[in-house]
Symmetry: C2
Subunit: 339 residues, 2 copies
Amino acid sequence: MATIEDVAKLAGLSRTTVSRVINNQPYVTEEKKIKINEAMKELGYVPNSSARRLRSQRTETIAVLLPRVTNPFFGQLIESLEQKASDYGYQVIVCQTHDKKYKELDYLQLLKTKQVDGVIMASLTNEWMDIEPFLDSGPIVLCNEYMETQDVTMIHIDHKQAAYDAALHLIEQGCRRIAYASGGRETYISKQRKIGFCDALREHNMWLSKELEINEVLDVGDGQTTFQYLKVHQPEVDGIFTGSDEVAAGIVYAASKEGWRIPEDLAVVGFDNQMLSLLMVPAITTIEQPVEQIASKTIQVLVDQIKNKLSAPTQRFVYPYELIKRKSTDCNTVKKTAR
Amino acid sequence: MATIEDVAKLAGLSRTTVSRVINNQPYVTEEKKIKINEAMKELGYVPNSSARRLRSQRTETIAVLLPRVTNPFFGQLIESLEQKASDYGYQVIVCQTHDKKYKELDYLQLLKTKQVDGVIMASLTNEWMDIEPFLDSGPIVLCNEYMETQDVTMIHIDHKQAAYDAALHLIEQGCRRIAYASGGRETYISKQRKIGFCDALREHNMWLSKELEINEVLDVGDGQTTFQYLKVHQPEVDGIFTGSDEVAAGIVYAASKEGWRIPEDLAVVGFDNQMLSLLMVPAITTIEQPVEQIASKTIQVLVDQIKNKLSAPTQRFVYPYELIKRKSTDCNTVKKTAR
DNA sequence: ATTTGTTATGAAAACGATTTCAAAATGTAG
DNA sequence: CTACATTTTGAAATCGTTTTCATAACAAAT
């Protein structure tokens, strides 16, 4: 492989000048610039990335931590994040934590080992006190995750309010025994959602009984299992709030197969407005997050923090969401007619 | 940030010895090893990744090129690839090409700039002659993509035969005017599928007319559009083969909304056996690829090539697939009863 | 006591770029 | 023609490791 030295020799100039051309800095005559470019082309020269990273202490790379790319919401998120990052000249490396604490910490090491200039956490399973020390090694931004602390910038929607709205909607549709299926990880987000959900219930003199709260429900399969459980143990359930469209889809699928009518027998609400929620029969009521805006702001903030090493005041950006009402909760018929 | 030098000083030893401990090489007394480990802990030392990459000329990183992570098939693939890679101690960086030639070439530069030790191409939109030169910079393996050439190792299923089987199935179900919706990119894979599809038709004295061939159909939205087109311009169509479950789902969705019955009015076949194909009403007939096996072999082969720099003979690994028959093609009723 | 063979250690070179600093070349104003 | 500013260039230092090579220390064998 050709090095910068080879190029310099071939062009009859110094490494320094070649470096100037590579990074198109000023103070190189047009004539030599051409000569150098020719030399580079002739040798098929490409600067060695490790060397320039080492010397310049910049990697132009951002790590995005998320649970898993197979979750369409995060697929969509990573898509937008990458798009935006590349606008700013940054590369993205995708880190799947699978909701494992140790993986999350492992990936944060990327910041310490200087493999990345900054980190976006769209996965947050550790306690903040375990994350916080990493801030010494570089900027971190929370995307779609959040917490009480103010030590870090966060970009997200109001999950508590969103869950409240969803629960209220179910209540307004006539549901009286509403189940709650949560993405199991005990994150701040899930706690917020549960609070919002319970608030709505309480305001209508209802409450979430232990038997109607199901945890660790993540994907379509879990949704199916959840329905089986409800059918056997809580057959009087008439509505359910889920943490994702996948789970909701699993429930709708299993319920339909068992002859339950959606929404008459069971009204279902999902989360994230994935394509899946629209395609299901019946289409699933869900909450839409402004993914692109969130992604856009996240990158903007992180890049800013990378560039202005002086730690800017941390901020919190809360974006609006939208409850999208579809057939899965459209109970204008009387609830629970003969099943 | 502490450097190896700082650790050496604190431990009263040399950089070399510290380096030996870091890479747990032999020839360090237990006593000094302990002293050094203490020093590292005290300073919170972590080796700088760029420096070691530069010196050792290894990155322990693999690039995976694929069209987009929002396509669930590739989401699944990346999931498996990452899993396997980490078993071998390799990191994966995900590179979305969005079927753009220039992006594909951009990402291949990672090999030249020594940012990665090897590349997995699950996206292949360029001509081979444009890719081939990159082989000088490091190993490349084709995963789920393939072509005639024998210059590179390939892992895939027989897409031609799979499309043949799917078409045959449609014919056996009584379809007589079968449309073909293809993921537009003019890749070898799509060509193979089309050949297989047409072979089946020809063997039954049918052929694919221009009007029933629709290209550049990639996602659910495209599927919907495709149905609208067929409905208006080719209403006598009674079966359709699609390049992905997403497209198939879009068609089923649009068709149902317009009052067409699936499969009586239109039988639909998807590809990849994504969750979506099972959840749709009706469930969609599709082709399942052994993603895990493909991923596993891909990593194994690539890592082998990275380690044994001597270029092993290139090979081709062809895995079996399975046609999964579901309701969307279950035409035991008479086709085209009054619509 | 000397040789031979391990084990243990460190000084210095190397990896391939960028950055600093000094000096040379050129232009421009007085 | 001189003085000063600006543009152009390169030698050498630097980034933080790993690798090479030389040598020291120790044990076992002659």
